[in-house]
């Protein structure tokens, strides 16, 4: 058996036996994060008429306006309210504070109700006067959402999954930091180094263990989110009317991309953990990694076209390629670029870790 796999097997065994780690990751990935996204969805995207109605105050309004307001869902007439409708002759002004989201939404809804009522009244009057409809309505226009349930699901997943996968990969790689720094902290390093094992095998075995752990945690998250979304939960405000379905080819492409990204992140953790004396010190070094990753991952929320060059930036490119894979518009170059750059950085960092493993000033720092 290769020495790399002996080291890998030992690290995986130790991680598997860490109950707190395993339960923590399973619960977080399968339940807590999808449930939080569901709660967020409920808050961000409430069903019409749900929640407390918004109070609307009428100032000098006639009976017609009063009737329109009374029929509008989600609002209630009140002597004092967050929304005011003020009459000035035949003109009405709807007043609401834009920084109050519920009041602003109610005001928009009232505006739509007034527009609709006005159109209906005009139609009735002109029809009564015998004016042909084509004279005042030469054409009709209506906007129809042609997206499928699958398309809406893909859009949501394409936005959320890259971000969550990257953040989770980094967070879980950081959680398994002790694989890298533990030998020093627990004083087992010297006994490992006097074994007949190349430093390269130690570094690779440990890096692969960190990577496996991070990938498993991410796969659990995707599973959890898919189950929650298909069960009718609105994840992250995307609406519940959707189906999330990934083809086997999409899953393979996602896994390839995630693997290259996980290798890169694990190599970063490995080199920082090798350099640090303790987990605490390593934690200080890894904090910026989390912030940088979040910054780069957040681009998956944008629908802008970042171009080919952006795909060559590790993490950012992986994030964009994940989104494109889920949306079904991935090109070979858009996948090859981030994978190549991630693997290149992985190779350089692994070489760096091996070099650190050969430096006694790093290994036996007081």
């Amino acid at each position: 058996m290769s020495k790399t796999w002996i080291v890998y097997g030992k690290e995986m065994r130790v991680m598997r036996r860490d109950r707190r780690l395993v339960i923590g990751v399973a619960v977080t990935s399968l339940i807590v994060l999808p449930a939080l996204m569901g709660v967020l969805g409920r808050i961000a995207d409430p069903a019409p008429g749900q929640g407390q109605p918004v109070a609307v105050r009428l100032v000098d309004a006639d009976s017609l306006v009063r009737a329109i307001v009374a029929r509008t869902p989600g609002v209630v007439l009140s002597p004092s309210g967050a929304v005011s409708i003020v009459r000035d002759g035949t003109r009405y002004t709807i007043m609401a504070d834009r920084t109050e989201p519920r009041a602003w939404t109610a005001a928009s809804r009232l505006q739509e109700a007034f527009d609709s009522a006005r159109a209906r009244i005009v139609t009735e009057e002109l029809t009564r006067l015998g004016v042909p409809s084509r004279a005042w309505q030469p054409f009709g226009i209506e906007m129809v959402d042609t997206s499928s349930r699958e398309g809406r699901g893909a859009l949501l997943m394409g936005t959320l999954v890259p971000y969550l996968v990257i953040v989770l990969l980094v967070a879980n790689a950081i959680r398994s930091l002790y694989v890298a720094v533990g030998e020093k902290e627990k004083s087992t390093l010297a006994s490992l180094l006097v074994c007949n094992v190349p430093r390269r095998a130690i570094v690779l075995g440990k890096t692969l263990a960190i990577m496996t752990f991070a990938i498993v945690a991410s796969a659990l998250l995707i599973t959890g989110m898919t189950v929650f979304a298909n069960a009718g939960f609105s994840l992250g405000g995307g609406g519940a009317d959707m189906t999330i379905r990934l083809s086997p080819a999409q899953i393979v492409l996602l896994l390839l991309n995630i693997t290259s990204l996980a290798l890169l992140i694990s190599a970063v953790i490995m080199i920082l953990g090798t350099f640090a004396r303790t987990q605490r010190e390593a934690g200080v070094y890894t904090s910026p990694l989390l912030f940088i990753s979040i910054f780069l991952a957040v681009f998956s929320f944008s629908s802008a076209d970042f171009g080919l060059a952006a795909h060559a930036v590790p993490i950012l490119g992986n994030s964009l390629a994940m989104r494109e894979t889920i949306l079904g518009n991935l090109t070979p170059a858009h996948l090859a670029l981030p994978m190549t750059s991630s693997l290149l950085v992985f190779a350089v960092l692994t070489w760096g870790s091996v070099r650190l493993y050969e430096r006694e000033t790093v290994l036996f720092r007081p």
């Binding site: 002996i6 030992k10 130790v14 087992t188 007949n196």
Partner: protein
Amino acid sequence: MIETRGLTKVYHSRKRGRITAVDALDLECRGGEVYALLGPNGAGKTTVLRILSTLIDPTSGSATVDGHDVATAKTAIRRLIGVVSYETGIYERMTPREIGYYVGRLNDIPDATIAQQLEYVFALLRMQEFADERTDDFSTGMKQKTVIMRALVTAPRILIFDEPTAGLDILTAKSVMDYIRLLRTDGKTILFSTHVLSEAEKLADRIGIIHRGRLIEQGTLADLQTRTGKTDLEDIFFAFVQE
């Protein structure tokens, strides 16, 4: 068996500048003997043993283990030695048997041989009862036995103990000394460092006194007594160190 000639190790510290941890050290440990490297804290004992264990390289001079140079034949030396250090820890969430297999496989030993060697070592160290228990809740004594087991699983001919009783209570320290005695009867060559005079006096065939990185004197207890005209090792030690 173990020989150093002009062995020197220099560190460079930002705060303390150039530090000569080992200074032109000539040491000779013969095959089958127990050699005690005796010296106060900071004398350079750990640095010497780390060089001989192939963990660090010397700045100058040479060191050989069974004829193999520490700078050029690390792999050959690692096949010969087992190392126990006072600061050595053990893997959590693993059993001593699993640790034994891990170390054995990393040293290219076939599983059947590891199994045989483990049974021998477990019996030698009286570890059978907890050989398959995870180390998480082990007492200090059980941990120390596991550390020694790990060094013995490769059936090394040479054992290097770096302050093996440091930080141990008196009972555990005594049992570690007993194991070293037991290993001597097993024909091993043992090089151990200590700052406890009585340990060197009771266990060692020959003693090397190290101070400020230099080997001041080496020989049997009788040799050292003759050279100083003193009978007590403590008096002998101070006689050399204060010269």
